[in-house]
Amino acid sequence: MNTPRTPRNQAPIDPLLRLQQLDRSRQQQLPPPTAGTVRQPTTTRQAADARRTSSPAPRQSAPTATTLLPSGVKPSAQASARIAALAAARGTVSGPGKASSARGGKPVGKRAKPARAAKVASLALSAVTTIGLAGMFADQNSQTDSIVLTQGTIGTVAATTATTTAPAATVPGNTATTVATTAPPVATGQVLDGTYVGAGDSNRWGTVQVQAVYSSGQLVDVQILQYPDGDGKSVRINQRALPTLINASITSQSANVSTVSGATYTSDSYTTSLQSAIDAAKAASGING
């Protein structure tokens, strides 16, 4: 149960200030690492290298760790046997000690957690979007986007509720009649303490729904129940059909692919898989490791 906070020492929430705070905190989030490029002007290694040498910008420094195994960990007997077998096949001696680098076992560079940072950022943005419903969408004070409270016990007068600096929450007056019998009328004319759920508001970013917490007539908290996906854009799902006829499907030869992402296969099913055919072709072309 939501216990309203006593606002004695707490100033009423100013949505505009809240928006600025959220925006600042959002800007401080690390952006997620960028995924692979697609259909960019540099579509070949040659072009990418040419672009790099012609620009003075230095390359990003790579993580400094040069070993994978944690420090103090010896290769397992299984691994050592495999390395020995590989060395024998190549006709060279390649013991475990030889290959490891001088830098001992420092763990591989910190793995960025893109999803988490980005998720926090998107939550903050969603909160921004929500506050925006109080009229604070990035570039305007819209009169049409406002928090609509459709439930709750409301005192006899509700005109001066919420804050004064932003468009006030619109409070339908007719709900008062249904609850007048259950709640004692309040002479002060302010919103009664409690949590009020707003109707879902659909805009071009999606559906946002908030609940507002009132205490002593002041809006003391705004909680987000529902917010648009991702960075506020609705997800567009595209649909296409794959060919059902075998000879209309893409074959590996015509597709000229380097590898296949398919549902995980076992070592046994690998031998009959498309991936093994591709690997065999590569081995036959003389590249080996």
């Binding site: 990418a48 991702g230 567009r236 649909q239 398919g262």
Partner: protein, 255 residues
Amino acid sequence: MSLHHVEAVMGTSISIDVVDSHDRTLIDELVRWFHHVDGEFSPYKADSTITRIGTGALAPTDPEVSDDVREVLQRCGELCEDSGGVFDVWSLPSPNGTRFDPCGYVKGWSVERAAQFLRSRGVRDFCINAGGDVVLDGFDQGGAMWRIGIRHPAEPTALALVLQVSGRLGIATSGSYERGAHLYNPRDGTTATALASATVVGPDLAEADAFATTVYVMGEEGLQWLARHPGYSGCLITHDLQVLSTDDFDRYVAT
């Protein structure tokens, strides 16, 4: 000069392509790494850290538990919350008789680590495929963008789609057509088979791996869930061969 190697480990086959190096010790290091991961995480091994944690013989907080295992458990916990319990490595039937199996995260995680290692050694162009989960960077042997096939769910030797990409990317596909119904919905214990497959792409293969499993189990609403993760996009294929995909994913598809 480039390197190509296939290693049978972790119950699958890992295909490694290193384009811009012929230093075979890189392959050795990767082989060592994957066998090490197998030893620590395999639910098929009675003495793996994961099995011992699953049976209660070892507490996750025990100092003997490595940082790697802790990192994986931490992230699996976060993903469980994020997915509303759909991705839950503590509610899966495990080969070791327990209900704890983090393999849906570990495979992609170990390959992502391998990719970081290669980058740290100055390799710019590579592709690793661990049983269908792919990580790549840079360009292919011909200096062109990597072309990655997504297996056709009904036709083992055909492809549903071809992706054309360059630069850092992880591609993970989940489905039932290779290993049968092995993807469980922890919420009700049923096996998920409503979709033929789900593919997720993004900057981190460990995440993409977990997301692909989650999207597959969630079904069509999984794409909406996925869209809440900036940088990650995907598609799913239904049994009647309809492909549903997000705009972000379609940009990767070769025409």
